[in-house]
Amino acid sequence: MMDNHFQSCIPIQKEWDIVAARQQGRDFSKQIGFGAVDQARIATAISELARNIYLYAQKGAICFEYIEDMEHKGIKIIASDEGPGISDISRVMEDGYTTSGGLGAGLPGIKRLMDHFDIYSEEGKGTEVTIQKWLR
């Protein structure tokens, strides 16, 4: 049985941490019972978020959490950093918007991989992205 409040975090500081975060996310989603396709979706979303931290904030963390409600179980992932923050969130949520010259798929792509997507950012303070996926 999974512990209800199980949570673990991976610091993102160097390039290899991106791989470590997605591997851990994949293992964790497998333990929860996600199939191969959703494992790939979750791991890829984590990879994109970790790369955003590495590219834009240099330092941050990815945390995983097991979640459940009355009917489902799922995974929650929080990517947080203390980077420059995002001044115009509606723009970064537009498909095709980039400041890196197309290095990442962008936030809309990550949103499409998951069931729930939330972003909070304050200029000069940092950014926190929360994503969730429910097991069907």
Partner: protein, 118 residues
Amino acid sequence: MRIPILKLHNYLLISIQTELDDKTAIQFQEDLLNKIHETWATGVVIDLTSVEIIDSYIAKILGDVVSMSDLMGAKVVLTGIQPAVAMTLIDLGIHLKDVPTALDLEQGLIKLRQELEE
């Protein structure tokens, strides 16, 4: 880590069997272009059967290596992309439209032969 590149007649064959981190992918890009230059290979098959995750960065590197090889005069075919990887890439909004693909290594070699004989 280096990804091995095998030469077979005029072709280069690569089977990626490892988790692709950014550095390995960039190194591979460089190694492949050098190998094309050294061997005068006309065709390349990159088999991705064992690759479980392709994110936007790795996809960009793979797409670029196809265009770069093309500039040098070698055709590249990507083979064996897993169903889960294909679904994830489309969700991400990555279509790799101009990249030749085939179901497996065998089909990839057939496709190369057809393209190079035209």
